[in-house]
Amino acid sequence: MKKSNIKANRSIKRAKLFSDISTYVILVLGSVLMLAPLIWMLSASLKVNQFSVYGPLFHEWNFSNYIEVFKTIPVWKGLLNSVIVAVPSIIVGTFVSGLAAYAFAKIKFKFCNIIFILMLAVMMIPFPVIMIPQYYIFSDLDWIGTLLPLIIPKLFGNIMMIFFLRQFLTHIPDALVESAKIDGANHFQIFWIIILPLLKPALAAQTVLWFIGIWNDYLAPNFFSAASPTLPVVIGGLVSDFPIQEPVHLNMAASIISMIPVLAIFAIFQKQIINSFVLSGMKE
């Protein structure tokens, strides 16, 4: 009896070890598949010319490509335009969204729930429906070709962000706001001094996700502001009708440069970004 028990135990342990090992094998293989294109990209960006791009991996280490691209491709201009678009939009837009989220969560004003639901309904309107009229509105304002169509609308906040911040704020007890009110603070003071610091973790994840979205966006920048290209528009412009003649090694170097800011920010905030999924998943 005992012997067979030990045997059974052993076989269970062996089965667990086997499944653990196969789990790792599959995950490692999957990771290799996910990373292989990016590794190839890095290798290709270091080749001497476009003819050796398809040669063996990491055979050449021509770092001067990364200097060359700044001369041959308007990477600087794109980088600058992308920063000009992303930074003010995010700072002002996040503040405005936070203010609205606070109002929806903590100020009991008339129709606040109906307005909130209507706002979420607006989110269902797909961008293609409104982008053509937007084009003509921006055109009437003489904004086409400038960065303004990418900046100004974002200054008025982000519905998605308001939704998540409001969700977060409903978990903060109302008593906190009420007691501050009794102490004589007005709503703006409460928001600025008490709520904003509390919002920090939620803000970090939402701001970073929004930044990544703005930084990588191509459709609107290309449609409204192609004459002032952001980085993705610059990179998208590298696609030519004659792939054979493309300087693939330089294109890869430029592409990597365009990805570095976002990858760096992802590396710093990966915990918050990944945790924000767990939070939103729980609420579904």
Binding site: T23, I26, L27, G30, S31, M34, L35, P37, L38, W40, M41, A44, Y54, L99, A100, Y102, A103, I107, F109, K110, C112, M119, V122, M124, I125, P126, P128, V129, I130, I132, P133, Y136, I137, P153, L155, F156, I159, I162, H187, W215, N216, Y218, L219, P232, I235, G236, L238, P243, V248, M252, S255, M259, F266, I274, F277, V278, S280, G281, M282, E284
Partner: protein, 302 residues
């Protein structure tokens, strides 16, 4: 005494009005933004679908033509081809779901180092799409690394980007690869929300691992499936950058999606037709979402 009773509610009322004003002030910027940049263009667009507008004159001057523009678009075979092409790319959704459930289940076993894998699978998601497109164009080349790899198994070079079927395949593979990280994290969050008691109960009843997955875990992930399918369809119907830059909508229009078709109309100054395409797309997305919401609601009720 009498005055006291009257005064109190009055004071409260004043305070209430104040709260209302402050509340409205706090949401005012958002309200202005939505009104001017979303709601106004929304109705502008709707009106333009009932006119024959070339965008060169003010919309108010353009002749009103009723449903003529809808008739024109819906009777264009190129429109339906674009519609079909767009639907075909949606195959990527179930492929991505199957792969991401499998990976999420493995990550959910709580083994060491799984955090690193989560980050790795998410890297393509945050990578710039135009950079990724440039990369895939080079990789899918007839002399590119993917063909090099296939050559190891004696496969002849495939013209991935030059042959309609393979072009669609390449596009879908790229979309799956790029989006996998998101659905993995969503499934992981879903799996972590499932209590172990269900699985244990099934185990006691003698269910094997596959039965537990199919009859317990998979149905309990319902909200996550729902979310991924709906967001996948909404995003997939608006597919533009990937087919446009990777394949230019070709070869032989095989990857000309609805949005590429829309921009063709726009470029030809057929603005009303372009708006009709946007509305057909919008209504389609709305119906799919409504059906999904309805079935989800019924399942939750049952």
């Amino acid at each position: 005494m009498n005055t006291n009773i009257v005064e109190k509610p009055k004071k409260r009322k004043v305070k209430h009005v104040q709260e209302n004003i402050i509340g409205y002030l706090f949401i005012l910027p958002v309200f202005i933004g939505i009104a001017f940049f979303i709601v106004y263009p929304f109705f502008y667009s709707l009106v333009s679908t009932f006119k024959n507008w070339n965008g060169l004159v003010p919309l108010s001057v353009a002749p009103t033509v009723g449903f003529e523009m809808y008739r024109r678009v819906l009777s264009d075979s190129l429109f339906w081809q674009a519609f079909g092409n767009t639907l075909i790319t949606l195959i990527g959704i179930p492929i991505g779901m199957i792969l991401s459930i499998a990976i999420a289940m493995l990550l959910n076993r709580g083994l060491k180092f799984t955090g690193i894998f989560r980050v790795i699978f998410y890297i393509p998601v945050v990578s710039s799409i135009t950079a990724i497109i440039i990369l895939w164009r080079a990789m899918m080349n007839t002399q590119g690394p993917i063909n090099d790899f296939l050559a190891l198994f004696g496969v002849k070079a495939i013209n991935f980007l030059g042959e309609p079927g393979w072009a669609r395949f390449s596009l879908i593979m790229m979309l799956v690869w790029k989006g996998l990280g998101t659905s993995i994290l969503l499934y992981l969050a879903g799996l972590q929300g499932i209590s172990d008691t269900y699985k244990e109960a099934a185990k006691i009843d003698g269910a094997n691992d596959w039965q537990i997955f199919w009859h317990v875990t998979f149905p309990l992930l319902g909200p996550t499936h729902f979310f991924i399918v709906v967001t996948g369809i909404i995003g997939g119907m608006q597919l533009y950058v990937e087919p446009e830059l990777l394949l230019g909508g070709g070869p032989s229009r095989a990857t000309t999606t609805l949005l590429i078709y829309l921009f063709e109309r726009f470029g030809a100054h057929r603005i009303s037709e372009a708006s009709v395409v946007a509305w057909v797309l919008g209504v389609f997305v709305f119906i799919i979402t409504a059906i999904q919401f309805y079935t989800n609601y019924r399942r939750e009720k049952a």
